[in-house]
């Protein structure tokens, strides 16, 4: 059935215009839908973050009232976590490249895939609405800790409903991907012939599937608590606020691995390509993804060291937290070893990947400080935590996203972007990023609490540095995005295999045709088979 090649972007389906997008069941179009939506939410979230930074530039009231600030970091957190980084890589690049990398025509359930996107939009709209509705933005922090969240007068119900729906969308995406990996691999492709990005997506999908229901039911309980006073979390009625924290983190710790595993997968694709070298320790990397996903379920209590948990629980959670760091360490070692004796081509995606490794190491290594009980007691709920997770989420997942878009954009749009500008943007991003978040580590150790609208003047030097860094960061992001947009609009035509990669996506034209493969793809023993 070899028809002449028509890219999926030009392909004429049942619908025309915008409807050919929002009703598309093609995994590639859905990936684009996600990407545009997520990029817009990222923009909103980032602006909220920047507003917070401006507020914090000096002690006392600078540009807003405390209530506004409290609403800001809550909505910033909800948007960034539930609408940007959790769907981020897996819904965009997972959707686009998972089927291609395993030699499939689409995901297992294309309609369900579209449905997930619609749910995602519904949840997102609700989340944004919670910011605008009458009683004011939710002011609970993205963690919705009871009993504050059960008593505050703001739009908590709207926000939790939004999070619930977003969670449901995430579950369906995960379900779809698991079935895709099990049932849709091209003939001859065994599990251990899959590239490592599909492996990462597969491990992630299991977390999405198994952890998300727990937060779903927790949020429903929270809503019922507000509506009917069922009392599960209200100490006056015999409930237990700490139980809420358990339930919340049973999901939300695994969720941090939903964010980082696909990022690690992306990096694992990029490094071998630009080193022209087989990835080092294929099995170790694949297995460490599963190990992170599995052990990640057992460490949630490290967010609750100061909540008054039993000593035994603190002991257990601390021990397991340390152990879960080991598979991440293995991955870092493997990436660096892959560079050994490679032939390294410093193109923008690779530069982003290097920055990723550095920032991820800082984020992860400070995670060790948090895993140890004694030191976590000191820095819990301080800006040290804020720095830790921005390093690991934005520096990790964020930079991986940027790396991925620079890596795969030629394939997705069939166009090239300007490398010099991309490199400048990457370096500026890196500098701005470190200026923004590194000072937060320092004042965090000294005790600057997080979620503070106002602070003692002795911390101001760091806050100013941060804010300056924030502005550099914004400029860099704007530069990067402009460059990409120019590339897509007016860039040179991209060849099918611009980086000389070996995985399946590079064997088909850019952009791919509707069914990806016109003839059965050729599956290799080892996906990273460089000569």
């Amino acid at each position: 059935m070899s028809t002449e090649y028509i890219s999926f972007l030009e392909h004429q389906g049942k619908y025309k215009g915008i409807r050919s997008w929002i009703f598309a069941t093609d995994h590639k179009r859905i990936a684009f839908l996600y990407m545009y939506a997520i990029a817009s939410f990222f923009l909103i979230g980032a602006i909220l973050g920047l507003l917070m930074r401006i507020e914090l530039i000096s002690p006392g009231e600078t540009i807003m009232k405390p209530q506004t600030y409290n609403g800001l970091f809550t909505v910033h957190g909800i948007i960034m976590i539930f609408m940007v980084v959790i769907p981020g890589l897996s819904a965009v690049f997972g959707n686009f490249f998972l089927p291609i990398l395993i030699g499939a025509k689409d995901v297992a359930f294309p309609k369900l895939n579209l449905f997930s996107w619609w749910l995602f939009m519904l949840g997102s709209i609700l989340a944004v609405a919670s910011q605008l509705l009458k009683s004011g933005p939710p002011d609970t922090g993205w963690t919705f800790y009871a009993p504050y969240s059960t008593t505050t007068g703001t739009n908590v119900i709207t926000a939790t409903t939004a999070a619930f729906i977003l969670g449901f969308s995430s579950i369906l995406t995960g379900l779809n991907f698991i079935v895709t990996v099990h049932r849709m691999r091209a003939p001859g492709m065994k599990f251990f012939n899959m590239p490592l990005f599909p492996w990462a997506i597969y491990a992630t999908a299991w977390i999405q599937l198994l952890a998300t229901p727990v937060v779903g039911i927790t949020l429903i309980m929270l809503i019922a608590e507000r509506l009917f006073g069922i009392g599960f979390f209200n100490p006056d009625l015999g409930g237990d606020p700490v139980l809420f924290q358990h339930l919340f983190w049973i999901y939300s710790h695994p969720a941090v691995y939903i964010m980082i595993l696909p990022a690690m997968g992306v990096i694992t694709e990029i490094i071998p390509t630009f080193c022209q070298k087989k990835v080092y320790g294929y099995k170790a990397i694949a297995m460490s993804s599963l190990a992170i996903a599995g052990v990640g379920f057992l460490v949630w209590g490290h967010h609750m060291y100061t909540s008054g948990m039993s000593e035994q629980a603190r002991w257990f959670f601390s021990l397991l937290t340390f152990l879960v760091a080991v598979p991440s360490a293995i991955k870092v070692f493997n990436w660096i070893s892959t560079m050994y004796k490679g032939s390294i081509d410093m193109k923008p995606p690779f530069l982003f990947a290097l920055f990723f490794i550095f920032l991820f190491m800082i984020g992860g290594l400070t995670g060790l400080i948090l895993g140890s009980v004694a030191t976590d007691i000191q820095v819990h709920d301080t800006s040290f935590i804020v720095a830790h997770f921005h390093y690991i989420i934005f520096g990790g997942m964020g930079f991986a996203f940027f790396a991925a878009i620079h890596y795969w954009l030629p394939k997705m749009y069939g166009k090239m972007y300007n490398f010099t500008r991309a490199n400048i943007a990457a370096v500026a991003l890196f500098i701005g990023f470190n200026l923004l978040y590194f000072p937060q580590f320092l004042i965090g150790i000294q005790g600057m609490p997080r979620r503070y609208f106002d602070y003692p003047p002795r911390f101001q030097w760091a806050q100013i540095t941060s804010t300056i860094g924030g502005f550099i960061l914004v400029s860099a992001v704007i530069l990067m995005i402009t460059n990409l947009i120019i590339g897509v609009r007016r860039g040179a035509k991209a060849p099918a295999n611009p980086w000389n990669g070996t995985t399946l996506e590079w064997q088909i034209p850019s952009p791919p045709s509707l069914e990806n493969f016109d003839e059965e793809p050729l599956v290799k023993e080892n996906p990273y088979d460089y000569k």
Partner: protein, 205 residues
């Protein structure tokens, strides 16, 4: 060109659908799992109160409902055997029995809940606020768990009714019955959850 699109959509893989259904069942199990976790924590903290409060429930109604669900689970499993054996009429009959059983279950539940409501016992009621802590939590859990379960019964019923229509139309037949299989799986899930809810809520000593 449009045959391309239809081609992608018509790709049929029964094993994939079934795997998908099983994965969905996993999420449902963990959804109730969260509730059971809450239940166990509170039961550990208020054992005596939970026992006293559970005496308010009628073991008889609970037991009848258990039997009803078990039977319905069997009939829907039989429906699959029947369709595999190309016995369309029997399949239809078995599905109707299952749906009927579901109605009986809901009917019982309705009376059970209604009875509580009459006594002013419902989430958010004044009486609830006056109860002892453990009793309050018990009844909150009771309403929450059985309520969510009843919701699943309703969803399952709708699924089974769709199955009925499809069997009738012939779009579910002996060589393509994965939809019925999935509907049945869902129904068994409802049964599975009840198997745990029954002793947890009704039989506390």
């Amino acid at each position: 060109m449009s045959e391309h699109i239809t081609h992608v959509e018509e790709h049929r893989d029964d094993e994939a659908s079934k795997l998908g259904m099983w994965l969905f069942i996993f999420t449902e199990l963990l959804l109730f799992g969260g509730l059971i976790l809450v239940y166990s924590v509170f039961r550990m903290q208020y054992p005596a109160n939970f026992h006293e409060a559970s005496l308010e429930l009628s073991v008889t109604i609970g037991a009848i409902n258990t039997v009803v669900l078990l039977i319905s689970s069997m009939t829907i499993a039989m429906a699959i055997t029947a369709i595999q054996k190309k016995n369309k009429k029997l399949t239809l009959r078995l599905i109707s029995i299952t749906v009927f059983m579901a109605l009986v279950f809901l009917f019982n539940k309705y009376f059970e809940w209604g009875h509580k409501f009459e006594h002013g016992l419902y989430p958010g009621s004044d009486l609830m606020q006056l109860l002892e802590r453990g009793h309050h939590l018990y009844f909150s859990l009771y309403f929450f768990m059985t309520g969510l379960h009843a919701l699943h019964i309703i969803v399952g019923m709708v699924l089974l009714i769709i199955c009925y229509v499809k069997v009738n139309k012939g779009s579910i037949a002996h060589d393509k019955f994965v939809f019925l299989e999935n509907g049945a799986l869902y129904w068994h899930l409802v049964d599975l959850i009840w198997i745990f809810l029954f002793p947890l809520l009704y039989l506390i000593s």
